[in-house]
Amino acid sequence: MTELTIVQAINRGLAEAMRADPDVLVLGEDVGVNGGVFRATEGLHKEFGADRVIDTPLSETGIIGAAIGMALYGLKPIAEIQFVDFIYPAFDQIVSELAKFRYRSGGQYPCHVVIRSPYGGGIKGGLYHSQSPEAYFAHTAGLKVVIPSTPSDAKGLLTTAIHDPDPVLFLEPKRIYRAVSGEVPDGEHRVPFGEARIAREGSDVTLLAYGAMIPTCTQAAETLAASGVQAEVVDLRTLVPLDEAAILASVEKTGRVVIVHEAPRFCGYGAELAALLAEKAFFSLKAPVQRVTGYDTPFPYALENLYLPSAERIVHAARAAVAAG
């Protein structure tokens, strides 16, 4: 075990995967000499050289298109999109190509690309350095969508992503890149996809969240505990595939749910979770499902702390759920 931050754990995961398998390589903007603008690829260029840690021209569609070609030819490319807000020039390559290659070729051309990208608010990034676009991608059949919230999961899920046979969008909660550090297993460490993590046990209300919202939910749970409400925090870890069983088991126990995400509410990932609960947990629910999310506006700069779900808003929603039944 080594004590690492999330960004250090990602760096370790990349380095170890590259040491273990010469077919693994990294490409993106400023990932080489500069070590990535968040330093996630620090030291890799030095250790593995410019052929495996590739500084690309400023073109996201070029990065993803080239990564697809490399994958088709048998490499295991890990593409970095500098901020997920800049992924849209590559939307066509991701949605029309990467996600559909296996299917459209009748299984002949599996397309194994990992796309790493920092997402989310809380760093004073305004409209274009704060977004949480996970719902666009979760909505696209053929893409796996992964969001870690702890250093250990960051390395473990990244390692699984690199070995997964399918394309994976690996979204990194940049607000907590360095905020939390934790024990990370040394050597190969895999966390399976489709298994949620119970970040905190509780019996009265379930908080469903992922990524940078996990520490906020844990904080809310502590406040709630002080007034006798025990909240269970479920960290989804992988949005696709989704661990339905863990969600349903928790809700069966608590009967109340607050869904939390930074992204806008309308058609956000929480809407899918709410639909799942309506379909499969209807008779366990004691209160209407609550959502605490970003508002249905672009992500504002000066008001970001009021836009982002706060522990207070989560506590408020959880209390409302408890009061309702």
């Binding site: 903007e29 004073k124 409209l127 508002y295 249905d296 506006t297 700069y301 000066a302 009021l306």
Partner: protein, 359 residues
């Protein structure tokens, strides 16, 4: 000098591609103002009084020279580094600083990161962060102006790295096909964050790319305000004569970091920086004015001093401006708030009152 930069009058000299001599001191003043705002903002960011900043040092001649060559009616589609262009357009320093703080004086209502300003009043279109998107938009606006029979051009600013973007291709291609009255003004500052110009494209120059789109591309020394002015005047004349677009590559150097989040020592050498510092456009301009007896050393000292005082005063005024009203968060998503937004706004207002919304 007021807290705005001097603004060009429509060029009236005999030779329309030469800067009128009387404008030269004004151009220098605009460059000094830009440099002073820039230095001040870097300090303010270090002090935590503004959140972020994108400096332009080294690019003043390219920006002031190009903006000076335009008509006030021309539309500008900038990226995020065009402070001196905004100043030449007449945007008051206080208004820019309001944007950097994101206070209630900010025309953008505190919504964007510093440097992403825009002012309809000054025909300076609000910038976004994704690079290159403004390029094809500038082409469309130029097509629209021609369709409406208006004698203006559009000018879009972007960097060397941005020539790799989707919209560089799309925009230049459209402009060529439709002979749009657009000027593509590329500031090749040699770096796109950590990537040097020669790792961005194997083209010998960026300007040469225009050839493939069927229109002229020219390289100019972007530290020479005259060369820049001349190139833009010529491109503007061509555009208005119906001859189509021009790509101008102004060769400059980004003397500072990419942004306040960047550390250029990780990827470039002090020797390279020192070489370009010798070509500092402000020193060059000052030298020229001294030689032409349009400026004395004493004038220069006084100019820097008064400019610094004015910028400090403008910042104090901006800092004293009240914060943005939180309820404005729900405005301008659409022309009118939808019922769903209305409900979210009401819920938000309630939580603000109850103190349950703060993080």
């Amino acid at each position: 000098m007021s807290e705005s930069a001097p603004v060009p009058e429509v060029a009236t000299s005999e030779n329309p591609t030469e800067i009128p001599a009387a404008d030269l001191p004004k151009i220098y003043r605009a460059m000094v103002l830009a440099r002073v705002v820039d230095e001040r903002c870097l300090t303010l960011q270090r002090q935590g009084r503004i959140g972020f900043y994108v400096p332009l040092q080294g690019q003043e001649a390219a920006q002031v020279g190009s903006a000076w060559a335009l008509d006030p009616e021309d539309w500008i589609f900038p990226a995020y580094r065009e402070l001196a262009v905004a100043l030449v357009r007449g945007v008051p320093v206080k208004l820019l600083l309001d944007q950097f703080i994101g206070n209630s004086g900010d025309v953008l209502k505190g919504r964007q990161m510093p440097n992403h300003y825009g002012y309809r009043e000054f025909r300076f279109v609000t910038a976004s962060s994704p690079v290159g998107t403004q390029i094809s938009q500038a082409v469309g606006a130029a097509m629209a102006a021609r369709w409406k029979g208006e004698e203006i051009v559009t000018v879009t600013y972007f960097g060397d790295g941005t020539t790799s973007s989707n919209d560089f291709h799309a925009g230049l291609n459209f402009a060529g096909v439709f002979k749009a009255p657009t000027i593509f003004f590329c500031q090749n500052n040699q770096w796109a964050i950590s990537l040097p110009r020669d790792r961005q494209t194997k083209s010998e120059t960026l300007a040469v790319k225009a050839t493939a789109y069927g229109f002229p591309g020219v390289v100019v020394d972007g530290t020479d305000v005259h060369a820049v002015y001349r190139a833009v005047r010529e491109a503007r004349a061509r555009a208005l004569a119906g001859e189509g677009p021009t790509l101008i590559e102004a060769q400059v150097y980004r003397l500072g970091p990419h942004s306040t989040s960047d550390d250029p020592r990780r990827y470039r050498t002090d020797a390279e920086l020192a070489l370009w510092k010798e070509k500092d456009p402000l020193a060059r301009m000052k030298h020229e004015l001294l030689a032409a007896a349009l400026l004395t050393e004493d004038d220069d000292v006084a100019l820097w001093e008064t400019t610094r005082k004015e910028v400090v005063a403008a910042f104090e005024a901006a800092e004293a401006t009240p914060p943005v009203d939180p309820l404005t968060m729900f405005d301008d998503v659409f022309a009118e708030r939808t019922p769903a937004l209305e409900a979210q706004r009401a819920e938000f207002e309630e939580s603000q009152k109850a103190g349950t919304g703060k993080s």
